[in-house]
Symmetry: C2
Subunit: 326 residues, 2 copies
DNA sequence: CTGTTAGCGCGTTCAA
DNA sequence: TTGAACGCGCTAACAG
């Protein structure tokens, strides 16, 4: 203990936390003792009295999706600036595991939790909020008024993507949709529909296939699309499924973008290096993460957050996977 | 408190932890009270006395690399099975931040930390081990005898990759290397050299370029290679840089694999969906993560780990990016 | 089988 | 400016 090298524990506590006045001499003595022993206060004991663990959690289905991974650095930056660390909990889309984790996190007294892509019923989540666990939702919605939400304007992004294809002269535009039942999937379909309707282009039922946001799903969806009446352009609900789409197109002997144009959504780091480089909708992942984290820290500190919905702007990034209709 | 609904706190503790014998009647009463109040023991208080936080940490440079992300699910599975959660700490390759995190993690009394790709001097890391913080290294080495290591046999993997290209008739085989100064980069260069030497193929200095394990790095390295005397095949130090390599090749008007074959390393999920699908060396990421986590939990529990080095087998996965020399 | 007592290592009164 | 005393919520040791 630093106590052995000086004064009482109370004084050490005050010195290290900058609480109260410390005589220069005793301050120096404490510093010396700390140096010598490599002393660091036990944060567990501190948490027990302060009621703050300086820990937040990120709860999401699957960190293997690079978009989720991109969120982490934004969270990390804000959290570290506030002296907090981040627990990562992956659920594999299993609602039981979501609930299990939420309950565990509450027991662990985390200061708050960031959730993304949960499938648990909103009322269950609201229960946790009611019990005093601050929760902020990022990227994907939850149907709950008790949880702030930070995300990109999905509908607008999808609309911009589709308009880009329309402006290139395409009329047979397919959509490889996200996982069924998710609001985010519906919104991207909505934006696609909006753009087609505004251009008075017929929207064929057979031109929407489910890609489920994965490489594998996009691949399967595109194969199905090619087996029917092939489109001249495809808007994929995210970059990962766009990868699968391009794979299926290449495998069928067609070329991107000469035969079929492809647009993705997310703008993953690797989108710039696919073959061909992927035209896509940029999501400000870093900013989404930072905003959501700040909101969560505010909530945890007992500050009110005035606005529930935080919508950020999507942006079209044109690369090599789209071209004018031949 | 559940105390209000029955007995003493000690009995509740025993009932909930399964320690000691509990009369059926009181057990039922406690269960009922727990249900009614939604009671969960405060793990912070528990940790203060048990000296275990049921928390481990993963310290790595950058979660945006999908290979690191793949490790997470293996860790998560083992950790959750042991009732532990995982703190994720990303360092951006900054040694100061590594030390800052390690110090913070010690203060937080984590049960142990898994490290990957640290650049901190081994002796600093050994200091933490000496202070009683269990550390296990996975994927990338540390030059320290006090830290167990779980990784794939990098040298062997690189050798297998190069041999594959040799067996296809290639003789002008370039290597896009990893970040300079890392043992893992040197080992993969070593395996490449071994294979060339065994086949009595000349290894040209100009056929090794630095790709630094990133898409961007691989892209730049391949452009440099193409500006010199172009190889007929390339072994990239990881899949991400292989993506950049394929990008540069396509941009130069050449085709993969007709003009140039490409082999990666890692076998990321997306490797199956690049254009063309990437031939690569499979790393058992899930197993590496599980083994390392188990080792760490053993260490944290005070069990001895007999073996310091755990080498897992790499495996060649042949897809569409390699072909026989024309 | 159960209650009482005593800490775990801190922050925080209240006096001095 | 500093120390003594108390308590955060829990588990462990010891009686009973």
């Amino acid at each position: 203990m630093a106590r052995l090298a000086g004064v009482s524990t109370a004084t050490v506590s005050r010195a290290l936390n900058g609480t109260g006045q410390i005589a220069p001499a005793t301050g120096a003595a404490i510093d010396a003792a700390v140096q010598q022993l490599g002393y660091r206060p036990n944060t567990v004991a501190r948490s027990l009295v302060t009621k703050s663990t300086q820990t937040i959690a990120l709860l999401l289905p699957d960190i293997a999706n690079p978009f989720y991974a991109a969120l982490v650095s934004g969270i990390q930056e804000r959290a570290l600036a506030a002296g907090s660390t981040m627990l990562l909990c992956t659920t594999e889309g299993d609602p039981e595991r979501e609930e299990q984790y939420l309950s565990l996190l509450r027991a662990k007294q985390v200061d708050g939790v960031l959730v993304d892509g949960l499938v648990l019923p909103p009322e269950r989540i609201a229960d946790f909020v009611r019990e005093g666990l601050p929760i902020v939702c990022l990227d994907r919605d939850i149907d709950s008024t008790s949880v702030p939400l930070v995300q990109v304007d999905n509908r607008l992004g999808a609309q911009i993507a589709t308009e880009h294809l329309l402006s290139l002269g395409h009329r047979l535009i397919a959509h490889v949709a996200g996982a069924p039942g998710l609001r985010i999937s519906a919104e991207r379909i909505g934006g696609y529909d909006d753009a087609l309707a505004a251009a008075a282009v017929e929207r064929r039922r057979t031109h929407v296939a489910v890609g489920s946001f994965t490489e594998e799903g996009g691949y399967g969806a595109m194969r199905a699309l090619l087996a029917g009446s092939p489109p001249t352009a495809v808007f994929a609900a995210n970059d990962l499924s766009a990868l699968g789409v391009m794979h299926a197109i290449a495998e069928s002997g067609r070329r991107v973008p000469e035969d079929i144009s492809v647009v993705g959504f997310d703008d993953l780091r690797l989108a710039a290096h696919t073959t061909p480089p992927l035209t896509t909708i940029h999501q400000p992942a870093f900013e989404i993460a930072q905003r959501a984290t700040q909101l969560l820290l505010d909530l945890a500190a007992g500050r009110e957050v005035p606005q529930r919905l935080h919508l950020l702007e999507p942006e079209l990034v044109v690369r090599g996977s789209t071209a004018a209709l031949a």
